[in-house]
Amino acid sequence: METLIAALRSLLPHDSVITDPVRLRTYECDGLTYHRATPGVVVLPATAEQIARVVRLCNDFGVPFVARGSGTGLSGGALPREDGVLIVTSKMRAILEIDLANRRAVVEPGVTNLAITEAVRDQGYYYAPDPSSQQICSIGGNVAENSGGAHCLKYGFTVNHVEACEIVTPDGDLVTLDRADPGYDLLGAFVGSEGTLGIATKITVRLCRAPESVTTVLAAFESIEQGGEAVSAIIGAGIVPAAIEMMDALAIEAAEAAVACDYPEGAGAVLIVELDGPADEVERQFARLREICSDAFELRVAAGAAERAAIWKGRKSAFAAVGRISPAYIVQDGVVPRTSLPGVLAAIDRLSAEHRIKVANVFHAGDGNLHPLVLFDDAETGAGERAEVVSGAILDLCIEHGGSITGEHGVGVDKSRYMPRMFSDDDLDTMQLVRCAFDPRGLSNPGKVFPTPRLCGEVPGVRKGVHPLVESGKAEQF
């Protein structure tokens, strides 16, 4: 590590190489704080070429590297390696080009998600994917995680809005993956690969024209079942809202305590439905929505941006808000087919009662993406373990119902051990073929996504003894 650090110092300006232990510790985790590791060294490159040189150096030394944007990820995707280099893109914050005629922007990876929208909003455009952390999270991180957001129900995920990426490959080459290029869709494979196939250094995103009309509705129901029925009815009526979000009573209580969002009192569930599009279309859909939500005991319609923000305030603060009602919590990100929601929510209730662990439910109801907040008191002996059990059981429920262990937070280190429950060995080994093509030495963010990566030279079949990657510390066996 010492010789590597010396070599890094010769490549980069003095203040771009961090070795001071106190400063290193500020990078020890991302948004998933219960996995921590102090990075061997942190670098803050200012250009793609510098990233490429750092990666080539890592190859020379056989040292793993991890890329980090703003560090808001919720699956430990940017968890550093103690024996590795953490490459932080926070100095690369330039919006390089805005081309409204072609509805594109070219940005550096450290640019925040919201900064893109802010740069084009006055001209009537925006960048569609909107993760809750959009004020802080970086576009490079969004690309790595294929981030979603409340509005991806209608508009899709990061992968649907990225046209091209310049990347540094795991061997340090600078190449551009472009949707328009002939050949394999390497861009499609790269987006969402959680930093395991290289580092995005320049991203071309698609810009969307702002909708003519937006109507945001808050519907309060006595029970979560009634809310769920309304969701099914909306989809059944052929309406694709921009977003359909739901919160249960416990989540509402937390949001109320944290931000006084003033949701209707006594609600068993609130539904936030946002309709957008041409005014004539939104008007018709809203009329239909009113009929569908006839069971709601209160229906609020936002008049203008301020009231819309007020409705969203409770929802957007929900994760942080549970801190007010519980000393510790685990956020899950499972997905179930929308029609399985009622059964799955009832099963979560049973798990909660059985293990004496409260679960607050906040979810993207339109696409069946659950964010159960599993609450516990970390001072109480055994509570953390019980919460882990409930949390894992919820993911099992999602898999049983044909869903997924992660809808938008990524696998990272947090859920890699659940991958074999969702995928067969053959599935995972096939994914590894992609990894081996891009990163045969396993240096790019090792230990993430996959539980026990097979070494790239290895022939499929029965494994014996300690896996070489485990032995060398590049992977952890689960």
């Binding site: 509805r103 290029d181 050949g183 869709d185 599009g277 279309e281 087919p337 029609t339 937070h409 599935d427």
Partner: protein
């Protein structure tokens, strides 16, 4: 011949089974994923080269295969496995034709919002493998955007799945995207799961005939970015001088929105009848595919005409198929493609030539990521037995 050992139907191939002039030895007709795997395992044992085929509508696209022993005909894999209407999701075997799928989905008021050419005969697998899409890609994306899960069979018979049957899912690598557009060179697409959309209550096309010289880039931009939210803005220009613009709007208020778009165009008619050229490829003995920045549409049109191609495509996404009518020699076509490519690349676009009777034509141009693609190919198909030599860089 042990290909048939697993009970898979196999017949001797004939001239009619030729792939770009290369006649295979056998045609295998698997009926299940397991049968596909059995055929591919047998082919691996005997080092046989395999070309998968669906409806055969695009089988002549791409280079002739370096070798082809077995044509893997997916026609018997024609079952729609699950249509979860409440979840707006469908899972189908790869041999289902796009029209058959559309008919089944329409019964529940839903659709797969792709309008690939040759929909009557083209299959789910063929549409994915060739990554063909139609005019509405502007609103709904292309095949890779609507595909949410896939089952593939690798050249050694390994069956692998990625994605699933929920739209929102970031667990693991997305093999579906890698296989979409891979033209049979990585393995066989056996089953696919798609995200669906509700069928719109109404469809209206705003159609206007115009002289190419009068076609204003500014108008096309205003159409594409109109808050009336068109699903497609397509242009048909058969002869370089006369063009038809057709703008599609879909929804309950389509009539009002069409009127707003007509106001932008200034002149034209609103109709609920799909233009007869809409999303179609009429002749593809010679076919070029263009991608260009949408703001350069009129220049792309001019370049196509000067190289002797007709133009049909989207002013909103910057994608078009170019046909070349009449007799053309290899030297003439090579020259035409070179000229076209020079002009389009200067606009920031790309030209490929999916179909050409002459293999000497440069079908792909420079592909900068070819080294990385070759590494992917080597991992998936180390024996180079899947559609060998057919794709970019003769991969």
């Amino acid at each position: 011949m042990t290909l048939a050992a697993g009970g898979v139907t196999v017949r001797r191939a004939g001239e009619r089974d030729a792939v770009s002039g290369v006649v295979p030895r056998w045609v295998a007709l698997p009926e299940t994923v397991e049968e596909i795997a059995a055929v591919l395992r047998a082919c691996e044992e005997q080092d046989l080269a395999v070309v998968p085929v669906g409806g055969g509508t695009k089988l002549h696209w791409g280079h002739p295969p370096e070798r082809c022993d077995v044509l893997l005909d997916m026609c018997c894999m024609n079952e729609i496995l699950e249509h979860a209407a409440g979840d707006l999701v469908v899972r189908a075997q790869a041999g289902v034709t796009m029209d058959a799928l559309a008919a089944a989905l329409a019964g529940k008021g839903q659709e797969l919002a792709l309008d690939p050419p040759f929909a009557e005969h083209t299959t789910v697998g063929g549409t994915l493998a060739a990554a063909t899409a139609g005019p509405r890609a502007y609103r709904y994306g292309t095949a890779r955007d609507l595909l949410i899960g896939v089952t593939v069979v690798l050249p050694d018979g390994t069956v692998a799945r990625s994605g699933g049957k929920v739209v929102k899912n970031v667990a693991g690598y997305d093999l579906g995207k890698l296989f979409t557009g891979s033209r049979g060179t990585l393995g066989v697409i056996a089953e696919a799961t798609f995200r669906l959309h509700p069928l719109p209550a109404l469809r209206r096309w705003v159609v206007a005939a115009t002289e190419v010289a009068d076609l204003a880039g500014e108008t096309l931009l205003r159409l594409a970015t109109s808050q009336a939210e068109p699903s497609a803005v397509d242009i048909d220009c058969p002869d370089g001088r006369h063009a038809t613009i057709a703008v599609l709007v879909e929804g309950s208020a389509a009539e009002q929105r069409a009127q707003a778009l007509l106001d932008v165009l200034g002149d034209g008619t609103i109709t609920d009848v799909r233009p007869d050229w809409w999303g179609r490829i009429l002749t593809d003995e010679v076919l070029a595919e263009l991608r260009f920045p949408p703001a350069r549409t009129t220049e792309a049109l001019a370049a196509s005409d000067e190289a002797g191609f007709s133009f049909r495509g989207s002013a909103a996404t910057g994608h078009a198929y170019l046909e070349h009518g009449g007799e053309v020699s290899e030297a003439e076509l090579t020259d035409a493609v070179d000229r076209l490519r020079t002009r389009i690349e200067a606009l920031g676009g790309r030209v490929s030539v999916p179909a050409s009777p002459y293999d000497g034509v440069d079908r792909w141009g420079q592909v900068s990521t070819l080294p990385l693609m070759r590494r992917v190919k080597e991992r998936f198909d180390p024996g180079r037995r899947m559609s060998p030599g057919r794709f970019a860089g003769r991969i």
